[in-house]
């Protein structure tokens, strides 16, 4: 289920969204300022003359010169403004202030914006096209101002009242869209320009396999990014160089340890006692194998063996057969069907061999099976030994772990076997599961994805 994500993940998206939000807020502030200013301006424009007329009317009415039904200011008995009409208290306050400045005291003031003049304020005679009427644009209305005279009755005036807020909104939206177009397109462009090299940097860092032929990432984008990419390329070269150095060092160590071993092996040939000589030779071979394991474990990150299509059943069978040739009690169903897998055969051989070797060493015998499921393959090596204490099951994968300190060198090795097998299998994307079987013995299973 995918949730609608409002917050984009990409750099360009986040930049664009942030800038869009900031622009919107700026536009809103701008707009409210504009609206305020416009209101003030409209108040001045529309109410200024009306107030002057009312002041004039009040004075004339006091002198009884005002004809009740003619002129722009009428004298009515009651306020024509509906209680339900759109009252404008802020205009009322403005008018009161203006009247007070003119030295007039009045009673209540009521104002309202209406679409049409009430009948009591209709003009007599044929409507003339007067410039004033042209102010009545669509969406405009009439502002009715009613002022209660101190001497009784209401002085009422009407004046055109442009109601331009709707249009103003439209203008705001259009303006914002234009701004977005002008600003967001470059932002998206620069965002992409930054994020493309970043993305290739990320994928290069993720896929970095030391030892493989390195193609440096193309430096692109702004200067800061070019520097990051260049630094990464340099880092990659350094890591590769360090690993090469490690390989060379391990090779040198291997060579330097093997040479005295080989010398020793040649020298023991002069030992007369056959049993003694054979034991010595075995010890030397054991040391050599350990050395080999150490070197393999250390080099595992940069396998030199390519991935090959291999019949895994035949691979396990061949390993088992080698053990049987040496007289070990290892069983495997030779009729196991062919099982084609893509892996590094000599490394996998070694992993299987190490598990069987442990089984034979500690459990005297090994029953090996290969089972294929649609999504995975299990190579199970079951022995009849004492198993491993439950709380130590995880420990045995650590290099140089041996469970019994009393175990002598002869059979114990130095505890690299499982570590190496585990490393090989996890390098192939799988895992090794160790389980004590209820009927006794250890069950070591290599699980590989298919």
């Amino acid at each position: 289920m995918t949730r609608l994500r409002l917050w984009p993940r990409s750099l360009a998206g986040q930049m664009a969204l942030l800038i869009a939000l900031a622009l919107l807020i700026a536009q809103i502030i701008n707009f409210s300022m504009l609206l305020n200013e416009r209101r003030n301006f409209r108040f001045e424009q529309a109410t200024g003359p009306a107030v002057a007329r009312i002041v004039d009317a009040v004075e004339r009415a006091d002198q009884a010169q005002l004809s009740p039904n003619r002129g722009r200011v009428r004298l009515l008995d009651t306020s024509p403004i509906d209680k339900a009409a759109e009252h404008r208290p802020e205009i009322e306050r403005g008018i009161r202030d203006a009247l007070r400045e003119s030295g007039l005291t009045v009673g209540r003031i009521e104002t309202a914006v209406v679409d049409d003049r009430p009948p009591s304020l209709q003009r007599r005679g044929p409507p003339r096209d007067r410039p004033r009427d042209r102010l009545r644009r669509p969406g405009g209305g009439e502002l009715i101002i009613a002022v209660e005279r101190a001497g009784g009755g209401w002085l009422v005036s009407a004046t055109p009242w442009p109601r331009g807020e709707g249009q103003l909104f439209l203008r705001l939206i259009a303006q914002t869209l234009i701004l977005y177009g002008i600003i967001l397109l470059p932002v998206l462009w620069i965002g992409r320009r930054i994020s493309r090299p970043l993305r290739s940097l990320a994928s290069a860092a993720r896929d970095f396999t030391p030892g493989e032929v390195d193609v440096p990432i193309a430096e692109g984008g702004p200067q800061d990014l070019r520097e990051v990419v260049a630094a990464f390329n340099a880092l990659r070269l350094r890591v590769t160089a360090m690993l090469d150095e490690k390989d060379r060092m391990l090779g040198a160590i291997g060579h330097d340890l093997r040479t005295p071993l080989a010398a020793l092996r040649v020298r023991i040939e002069s030992v007369e006692d056959d049993a003694d000589r054979i034991k010595m030779a075995d010890t030397i071979m054991e040391m050599d194998r350990t050395l080999d394991d150490i070197l393999s474990l250390a080099r595992l990150g940069r396998p030199s063996e390519p991935l090959t299509e291999v019949d895994l059943a035949a691979l396990v069978d061949a390993v088992v057969e080698d053990f049987r040739d040496l007289g070990a009690d290892v069983t495997f169903d030779e009729e196991t069907p062919r099982l084609q897998m893509r892996l590094r055969p000599s490394l996998m051989r070694r992993a299987v061999r190490n598990l069987i070797e442990n089984a034979v060493k500690y459990g005297t015998s090994a029953a090996v099976t290969v089972q294929a499921a649609p999504s995975r393959v299990e190579i199970r090596v079951a022995d009849r030994g004492p198993g491993i204490p439950e709380d130590r099951l995880a420990d045995v994968f650590a290099p140089f772990t041996r469970l019994e300190t009393s175990r002598n060198r002869d059979t114990g090795g130095i505890g690299l076997g499982l570590a190496l097998a585990g490393a090989i299998v996890s390098d192939a994307g799988g895992s090794i599961r160790l389980r004590n079987r209820p009927e006794g013995g250890l069950d070591a299973t290599i699980i590989l994805p298919r």
């Binding site: 040479t259 080989a262 010398a263 040649v266 071979m285 050599d288 035949a314 691979l315 051989r349």
Partner: protein
């Protein structure tokens, strides 16, 4: 078959290794085995010794400072037919394969048993004395037969679809013996002899067992073998054309 000794002169071996701790005791051992040994501590010395003496066989360490064993192998192969046995480390597998492809006759992996080395030397000298052309090293080249390819360097059997079918040491040795002698009848004793050369301990099980295992891997119908045929009277033969790749 005439051995070198029987011809009246002691085989003269050139032992090239920069490590004195290996070279000297090995020279001692081989002298006791009845060989005449000349030692060289580097490739340059080896070149002058090769020019000065009639050397019968060269034992050559691959990893040497200065000119290495591979380069010296190439030099020897360009100028003579003197057999070469390489001393290699297990980790130098690629070097070993390159060395064999360059024309070395055999190799031993350090730490090696001097007895095994001595046995190999004798086999190669016997072969050379028999006047036969130099044989290809046991672990070089690939052999194609009946849709299969046996790759010696990697010791892998590859099928028509390019899928590798791993072989045990015994199976590999047996199949190698068969593909290098196609259409020859090989008795069980001959096969035992041919396959025992390398890891003697790994091959004390019956040849018949290995043959039936191999058949399961390469025959379309193991019950009715078309490739590895049993010959009446006791023996096996590879009934297929073998192409050396």
């Amino acid at each position: 078959m005439l051995s070198a000794e029987a011809m009246g002169d002691t085989p003269h071996l050139l032992l090239v290794d920069d490590e004195r701790s290996i070279r000297e005791p090995l020279a001692q051992y081989l002298t006791k085995q009845g060989f005449r040994i000349t030692q060289a501590g580097d490739a340059a010395t080896a070149r002058t010794r090769l020019a000065a003496y009639a050397i019968d066989l060269v034992i050559l360490d691959i990893m040497m400072p200065g000119e290495d064993g591979l380069s010296l192998t190439r030099h020897i192969r360009e100028t003579s037919e003197i057999p070469v046995i390489l001393l290699t480390a297990r980790s130098e597998e690629t070097d070993r394969i390159v060395g064999l492809e360059m024309g070395a006759d055999d190799y031993v992996v350090k730490p090696f048993s001097p007895r095994e080395l001595s046995a190999r030397i004798k086999v190669i000298l016997r072969r050379a004395a028999a006047g036969g052309a130099r044989q290809h090293a046991p672990d070089s080249g690939s052999f194609a037969f009946a849709g299969w390819v046996l790759k010696s360097g990697e010791r892998a059997l590859v099928d028509r679809d390019g899928v590798s079918v791993p072989l045990s040491t015994g199976e590999y040795n047996l199949l190698h013996a068969l593909v290098t002698r196609p259409r020859q009848v090989l008795t069980r004793d001959q096969l035992l002899d041919l396959t025992q050369g390398r890891e003697a301990a790994a091959f004390d099980r019956a040849i018949d067992n290995q043959v039936s295992r191999l058949r399961r891997k390469i025959e379309a119908d193991p019950k009715n073998p078309e490739l590895i045929k049993t010959v009446w009277g006791g023996g096996y033969t590879l009934a297929a054309e073998v192409t050396r790749l």
